[in-house]
Amino acid sequence: MSTLTVPHIVKGERIEGDAQDYGKFATPQLNLTDLVWQRPAPGPAFDVPLAEIIDILVALGEWLKRDPDGVMAQACTASKRSNPLPEGVIDRSYATLGHLFDRASMEFQVEQELGGADVLDGWRTLNTPSGRSVSLRAFPPRLVHIVAGNAPGVSAMTIIRGALTKGVHLLKLPSNDLFTATAILTGLSAVAPGHGLARSFSAAYWRGGDKTVESMLFRPQFFDKLVAWGGDATIRSAKEYIGPGFELVAFDPKTSISMIGNAAFADEATLASVAEAAAMDATVMDQQACTSSRFQFVEGSIDQVDRFCALLQEKMGVERMTASACGNPLTGAIRDEIDALRDLDPDYRVFGGFEGRGCVVRSDDPVDFHPDGRVVNVVRVAQLADAIRYVTVATQTVGVFPHSAQVAFRDTLAAAGTQRVVALGSAVNVEAGLSHDGFYPLQRFVRWVNDED
């Protein structure tokens, strides 16, 4: 198989080349000077009205859907060679990218997170309690993004948020998604050639933690903030550079769970629909997303919970918009972990195999390993409230059934660290304009500047 070549985008311009060899793939030579926007000059889109930006993004969305030049198809094919996600999921993710550039959704984001376009386009005047008149602007930022590669949508989301805030943006490509951001930005230049918005973006790969690159780029002289996805390993080296003038906006790694009350066992039809909803939540992006449910706490007897597990396992093997019917086969350590539990009946019971359709482990305590690759640990609890002790600040989404429990537990869940409580089955409905990991990204991206009397 030939080496993959990864194109870069430098201020809107697509650069091809293979001068830098990383073994499994090659990229053009990095030119660090080209990757920064000198600070004394305003960024190329700082003064472009938001309405114009949104028009361009909507056109980009159409371009992504039509793919007139075959750029997206090419990126999708290349992604399949470098991204561990099952091919079907990559296909479906690529098919939905264009829909993220929805006008109403983007307007909602600006309205919801910043209170309107006025504060982006100019200065919003307000009067303070002391009687002074103050003008306020959500000023365009200079951001470097370490993008997550476990879902192609993350790149699209980053580009939308970046464009809406008008700043300049350097995207560091992850090795598990080397092509999506570049392809979308190629589209941006196609729908708005030479436009300031297109010139506001660059995307490049360097080995995460490469000091020769990061020590030059991660400076307050060039960028205001580092927007980092991923955990300690991602930002371990970047942390060295965080300091006054160069701050961190972190989308930390998260685990999501489900809480299912005994009402699920009211009758067969209810149980079937609850298992269906639980399976949907578990298989989001074939369980590679932070919103995918991994632990499901179920209130019931062993017999009841085992019936649920069997149904859940069956329904995990169903093809959906964001999940394949069968993912990659399980390999390595997690197989050993689950194999060991198979023999520990009755304390543990395993439903399903390792072929990738779905595997469910029933237990009385959460398993020691991180359920991944379409594996769900169903933990039997005597009362639903017993699940709360397993909630931490790393718990992102909690899908709850029934609705009454959702309302009853939301404050306790929030106190324990949860950021999002949803009706069971709705984990996948991540919507722009709502808080993400407990904050409003656009608010954190911009620089709030005052003009005071």
Binding site: A148, N150, G230, A289, D364, V393
Partner: protein, 446 residues
């Protein structure tokens, strides 16, 4: 039927143990692998399952072994909840799934911690080693008394290799604990039993290593991650670790004085790099010059560089201080009995009873070659074990030279001295899905 396994294992006592060509050994190793598989396949549930899933009924080629290799994590695949809740009967059940014997008849009444559990199994002839991994969750590996005897025999023939054979005529300085169910300690015990003259063994730490202390640490780490440990408890835990470290340094200073008194004899010294530097510091205080050791002294320095701050030139400092002594090396791991000693050319040689399996990075494909240098993931079938399956896939990235002969003149294949971990050189895959451990400090600093 010819006992090929026995035949290969017994070769270790021959002066020509490492002189067998790969070509000659290959058919014997394959036959021995088949023999071990036949004996253990139905007795070890995890092996039986692997074989069933892969449709393997006999070992016709080394490729058939690949799906049967276990990861080291197989030996810590028990639920922590069993330990936390003192369910030692359940732990017996679990251990049976990764071992040849069934431990159902081992009475665990009265057992309250892992040390007592291991002792109880020991009373029944099951010798369990535990690892005290940094993650806090211990692995438990079963071996029979016979396995232990064969392991000691192996060590006896490789510890002094290629220069000498241990003959119970040395002063032995062992800079660690000497009692406890741990493979490093077992190596210390064997070292004592084969090298030391009567009364000539000096262990730095005389109190036993307790696995339950490790479990306690794990439990505490878990509480920290959950957020139920208070800042004061965390501080107390850290202070205790620091106090222990300080006490250890004080003890080492006194111990060093005894060690230095024997420096003109051919002693055996084994310890961690950081400890060697402390010894040097003490020696300097006492005015001991560089290179003042007996030339037949054997100095084993290793491990322990994770989380310890060492000067960049620590290896040079140690080399300079000890001067012209023997510096043996060996490549091994808890899961392996037949460790690989290092030859004059600096390469690791495998004993006839150890089947070397070089896999691709994913661990799914055998890439053993007939000649040339090949890099891959190290795996092996250790034919020595009857108490458990000896097939394991490691996390080590190794370079194997499959050339018929090593630079030392003995036959290959050999492993080069460039062993690293695979995890350390991985791609920068970035994802938004993860656990609290991946970014919240849940680990107690020592």
């Amino acid at each position: 039927m010819v006992d090929h396994r026995r035949e290969l294992l017994d070769l270790i006592v021959s002066p020509d143990a490492f002189g067998q060509s790969a070509e000659d050994l290959a058919p014997l190793q394959l036959a021995a692998a088949q023999q071990v598989f036949e004996q253990q396949h139905s007795a070890i549930p995890i092996l039986a399952r692997r074989a069933d899933e892969a449709g393997i009924t006999n070992i016709a080629s080394l490729h058939d072994l690949v799906p049967l290799l276990l990861a080291h994590t197989a030996y810590k695949s028990y639920p922590t909840a069993f330990v936390e809740k003192n369910r030692w009967d359940r732990m017996n059940h679990w251990l049976s799934t990764v071992s040849t014997p069934d431990f159902a008849d081992v009475d665990v009444s009265g057992v309250e911690n892992a040390d007592q559990w291991i002792a109880r199994l020991g009373d029944h002839g099951h010798l369990v080693l535990a690892t005290s991994g940094t993650s806090g969750k211990c692995s438990f590996l079963n071996a029979s008394r016979h396995d232990r005897a064969l392991k000691e025999r192996h060590f006896k023939h490789v510890l002094g290799w290629p220069e000498t054979i241990p003959a119970n005529d040395r002063e032995v300085f062992w800079l660690g604990p000497i009692e406890g169910p741990n493979s490093a300690i077992e190596a210390g015990i064997i070292s004592r039993d084969v090298w030391a003259r009567p009364g000539g063994f000096h262990a730095l730490i005389t109190e036993p290593l307790r696995i339950s202390d490790v479990s306690q640490m794990a439990a505490f780490t878990k509480r920290m991650a959950e957020g139920s440990a208070t800042p004061e408890e965390i501080a107390a835990f850290q202070n205790e670790a620091q106090a222990k470290g300080k006490a250890m340094r004080t003890a080492l200073a006194a111990y060093t004085d005894t060690l230095l008194a024997h420096r003109h004899e051919p002693i055996i010294l084994s310890g961690l790099w950081a400890q060697m530097l402390q010894i040097i510091e003490r020696a300097r205080e006492l005015g001991v010059p560089d290179g003042d050791f007996h030339p037949q002294t054997r100095v084993n320095a290793g491990g322990g560089i994770k989380g310890v701050t060492l000067p960049d030139d620590y290896k040079e400092q140690v080399a300079r201080f000890f001067g012209d002594v023997q510096r043996p090396g060996a490549y091994g791991m808890t899961e392996m009995a037949q460790m690989l000693p290092r030859c004059e050319a600096g390469h690791y040689h495998r004993a006839p009873g150890l089947i070397l399996l070089l896999l691709d990075e994913s661990g799914e494909r055998l890439i053993n070659a007939d000649d040339g240098l090949v890099e891959g993931r190290f795996a092996f079938l250790d034919l020595l074990y009857e108490g458990r399956w000896g097939g394991l896939i490691s996390g080590d990235k190794v370079m194997v030279d499959f050339a018929p002969n090593c630079a030392c003149g003995r036959p290959g294949p050999v492993i080069l001295d460039t062993i690293t971990r695979f995890a350390a050189s991985g791609d920068d895959h970035i994802g938004c899905a993860g656990t609290i451990d991946s970014y919240v400090r849940g680990v107690v600093g020592a």
